[in-house]
Amino acid sequence: MSVISIKEVSKIYNPDKIPVKAVDKVDLEIEKGEFTAIVGPSGSGKSTFLNIVGGLDNPSSGAVVIDGVDISTFKESALIDFRLNNIGFVFQSYNLIPVLSSLENVEFIMLMQKIPKEQRHARAIELLKEVGLEKHLDRKPSELSGGQQQRVAVARALASRPKFILADEPTANLDSHSTENLMGMMADINKKEEATFLFATHDQRVIDKARRVVTLEDGRIVKDEKR
């Protein structure tokens, strides 16, 4: 069974006025352990698609089946709960709570999942080690570089033991060195932990790391290549 199974998903903005078909009848299957990039020019529908897959938004039509559960008609509060326990997120920026340290940020999501203190503490340290930040456990986000902040975000996304990790343009604010670093690290984790990654990007260096590249154009999949 696929982790993600998207069937005939469409998203139409402004259906009453001038409709914009941001996502147009997309079908996509993502298996466990994939490392897949959604690519395409700006405005091609990548973010809209990822939001729907991530349960941040409902599709106008179609089915979004995550690990056997169709979330396409979930109400807001059910989606919040579903996201917490099934999906890890890495956004372009503003990923972290500014008043909490790296360690506390990673622990915070497990706290929301009501994981016992000792367990979440140990796991947070372990994950931060894995992303190479064991020396910065007590630093606040403002005391970390952009690349380091994104790595904390990856650790945070992994912490909740999600079905997969969504990353919308995770490297858009990073220089090329940090981009290489972050992507290399995500690829390592993907291999080591069999964690499933789905990310949107239009950065060639990121695309190069992907093992499957799905190209969107005007909300439609125009190319789907595995390497």
Binding site: D57, I80, R83, L100
Partner: protein, 406 residues
């Protein structure tokens, strides 16, 4: 717990802004306490003056005397009442009075006047007339027929110490009698009635003129040591009083009770206004804080933070602002009240008008423990109310919109 920690740290992210709110809450609570204590002191002073100088705690009259004021209607059962008063330990002081109204005339003018025939020692113990005397003294220093009148009455009659005045009134049989008196003292009292309408004479002087016998009186006024025992005493006295009416200050001066409740209302309004101002200040600050953290709150909801938790976080932050400032304000209020209680606030530069209203020129702020509790309670209610609006704003954020506006 962690939510509280996050909220606490969020409060200090913008130190200046939070500091301003904390100080505002502190000043608000302080001014609240001060205003309450000031008004309370104002009213207490008015009330205690009215009781100590005018009404006393309890007055006893013959029912018939109350009805038509004729001097023939003296107190019933006087001997028995006298015995009861002498034996009662809850009583601080009391005075027997002869009372009638008539006319007071000088060479220049004439006025209506309430004539009180008293024993100087007893009356001074009860209403402290001597302390109000500004010229001469309380019915002393004049051999025959001394009289004490108020400053305003003296001015109207254009009389001074030792001036002669003539009192005209009806005796027991309804005959008009007139007698001349000499001004022994002039008083300035917080009681308007005493300044304009009252004349004290010796009971023995007026008794003969009224054709009344010894131990015949119209009025007994008394003060209890504690206000709490007034009603018990009143009931007990009523039982042995036969045809007399024994009334407490609450019946004698219903306007005092009205004033008491009105002062509560005006205090409520003051509290309301200060609270409202604080409330708006806090709402405004927290709305700013929420909008500033648009993306962060959107991110929290995106990764799966429950709306109830987001709501709680903002409520905690808002309440922390109020709860930090509150105790400081309470302390300042308590400290300033305690300091001012000793010295009082000297209002003598405005006291011309206050005198006429029956209020001392030295005002002592006064606040009960229950009033402090009331302030604490209202601040907490206010904090909760102020928290709701920004917290609702926070959970109405659309995470997608918040995360896209980068």
């Amino acid at each position: 717990m962690v939510l509280l920690k996050v909220a606490w740290r969020n409060v200090w992210r913008n130190k200046t802004r939070s500091g301003v709110v904390v100080v505002a809450v502190m000043l608000g609570v302080w001014s609240l306490i001060f205003a309450l204590a000031f008004m309370n002191g104002f009213f207490k002073s008015y009330l205690s003056n009215a009781i100590n100088k005018d009404f006393s705690h309890v007055q006893i009259h013959s029912k018939a005397f109350l009805k038509d004021g004729e001097v023939g209607f003296v107190l019933d059962n006087f001997q028995e009442i006298k015995k009861a008063l002498e034996g009662d330990k809850t009583i601080a002081s009391y005075s027997y009075r002869l009372k009638t109204n008539g006319m007071i005339a000088s060479a220049k003018a004439a006025r209506g006047v309430d004539i009180l025939g008293v024993d100087t020692i007893r009356e001074d113990q009860l209403t402290r007339v001597q302390s109000d005397i500004v010229e001469g003294n309380f019915l002393g220093g004049i051999k025959r027929n001394p009289i004490v009148i108020g400053r305003d009455l003296a001015n109207k009659l254009k009389v001074k110490i030792r001036s002669k005045v003539v009192l005209t009134f009806r005796d027991k049989d309804g005959e008009l009698v007139a007698a001349s008196f000499r001004v022994a003292g002039i008083m300035e009292s917080v009681s308007v009635k005493k300044n304009e309408l009252t004349a004290y004479v010796l009971d023995k002087d007026v008794r003969n003129l009224l054709k009344l016998g010894p131990e015949e009186f119209h009025e007994i006024a008394l003060l209890c040591k504690e206000e709490e025992t007034v009603e018990t005493l009143r009931t007990a006295l009523q039982q042995i009083s036969g045809n007399n009416e024994v009334a407490s200050w609450r019946t004698l001066a219903p306007e005092l009770e009205v004033m008491q409740s009105q002062s509560k209302i005006s205090l409520g309004i003051i509290v309301g206004i200060i609270m409202l101002a604080l409330c708006f200040g806090i709402i405004n600050t927290m709305l700013m804080a929420v909008l500033e953290r648009f993306k962060e709150i959107g991110m929290l909801m995106a990764i799966g933070m429950k709306k109830s938790n987001v709501f709680a976080m903002i409520v905690y932050e808002t309440m922390m602002l109020s709860i930090i400032g509150g105790p400081f304000g309470l302390f300042l209020g308590w400290a300033s009240n305690t300091a001012l209680k000793e010295k009082g606030i000297d209002l003598s530069s405005y006291s011309d008008g206050l005198d006429k209203m029956g209020i001392d020129s030295i005002l002592r702020p006064s606040l009960e423990q229950s009033d402090y509790m009331f302030v604490v309670f209202s601040v907490m209610i206010m904090a909760v109310l102020a928290a709701i609006f920004p917290a609702r704003r926070a959970i109405k954020l659309d995470p997608i919109e918040a995360l896209h506006k980068i």
